[in-house]
Assembly symmetry: C2
Homo-oligomer: 239 residues x 2
């Protein structure tokens, strides 16, 4: 039964898809969470004497950043789901109401790959006998759209927000626990750069960039962002 095969194939594909998307959400949240609060705290510690103020600004940033990124991720995933649903509805209407146009679109899809009308006709005939499969085919091959998972938006939002908070607390901990701002800055720099190395390495393995190279990339971004924030805050507090 082709329909059953399609279904199991689809499930397999979705499972693969799902873990990739969760990894992507953790990466989105944690790479900014490890970088921005770290850079802000480092920057402020170069301009103000009070660790209390650094912690205050850092926590306010984590609250704002995790909410903004989490809700932003929610809306993005929800938008994808609505876009898919509305395009699917349109295709479902079109394979009934505008059969000739849809047939022509199938020929055009194949023509782009040098497959002529004669060769494409048997595929078209098979799809016409199975309208739901025809709609599936158009969604993927005409529009390039994947069906989003149910509950994706809420899961994406919480994954991004939690990853941001976890990442952001690492650079702030020294400022919370140590009395001297300079000592806290040093410890914060060391543990955050270490965390960026580990995070970059894991991310590189999961995404195929390679561990060492990805580690160097994440450490560089964190270092550059922190140096820029530090330099800017120094400059402004001196003036």
């Amino acid at each position: 039964m082709p329909a059953e095969h399609a279904h199991s194939h689809h499930n397999h594909h979705e499972q693969h898809f799902q873990s990739t998307e969760t990894v992507r959400d953790v990466v989105i949240g944690m790479s900014d969470g490890l970088t921005v609060p770290f850079a802000l705290a480092a920057g402020l510690s170069g301009a103000v004497n009070s660790t209390h103020l650094v912690v205050l600004a850092g926590l306010a940033e984590i609250a704002a950043g995790s909410i903004a990124m989490g809700l932003g991720g929610y809306l993005a995933a929800q938008g994808d789901a609505e876009h898919y649903a509305s395009e699917r509805l349109r295709e479902e209407r079109e394979v009934v109401e505008r059969v000739r146009d849809e047939e022509e679109e199938i020929y055009e899809i194949f023509d782009a790959y040098g497959v002529d009308r004669d060769a494409a006709t048997p595929v078209l005939e098979a799809l016409k006998r199975n309208p739901p499969a025809w709609v599936d085919f158009m969604m993927r091959f005409e529009l390039g759209l994947e069906e989003p998972q149910r509950g994706r938006a809420a899961k994406s939002a919480s994954t991004i927000a939690v990853s941001y908070i976890v990442g952001g607390m690492i650079p702030l901990l020294p400022y919370m626990l140590m009395a001297s701002g300079l000592d806290a800055l040093k410890v914060s720099v060391v543990i955050t750069l270490l965390a960026l190395v580990v995070f970059g390495g894991v991310k590189g393995r999961l995404t195929g960039t390679g561990g060492l190279r990805s580690s160097l990339q994440t450490v560089s971004i964190g270092g550059i962002a922190a140096a820029a924030a530090f330099g800017l805050a120094r400059l402004l507090s001196a003036s």
Copy 2:
């Protein structure tokens, strides 16, 4: 000539693709840029008396956030391009070295849509006569990958960073220009919420969510993030 048609079709598709991606990058940068520095500044203004400090923290955040998000976008786009190139190389080898397996994959692609082997065979024969088109077909229909544009990474990075900076400067301007922190907070809240309404409206029209609904969403995210940062900073500065 099918190859030429394919090329012009491809260009048309890419152009559509490009403007969508630029819009997406502006949305990524500006939605966080309008929200996080705004929320941070509002939060700090509830806890410290000096507008100088609010501006300092806000600018440090903008520096850190624009660099982190810009470079993050650069790496993401570069990763996509490398992933596409390596998968393409693999497909190019496989259509030569593992012809039987690749043929079977074509049958599986069609089988998932209820198209049987007999109907799929003419398409397979046509693709086999044109190996570059076969590779194109597998990239899109087996792997679901689009060819990324050249120079995408650098363009994506600068679009995101500039959008973040532009968005982030709006809530900070009142703190730079006004002496009273409370007055600056009020003006910052009003102009930033207005900016979020306009930004949300434009975004909603471009992405198809609808202007009013998208405006409400962006204003809500900004408001919630700012309220959380404000509340947290108040709580911590009182303790």
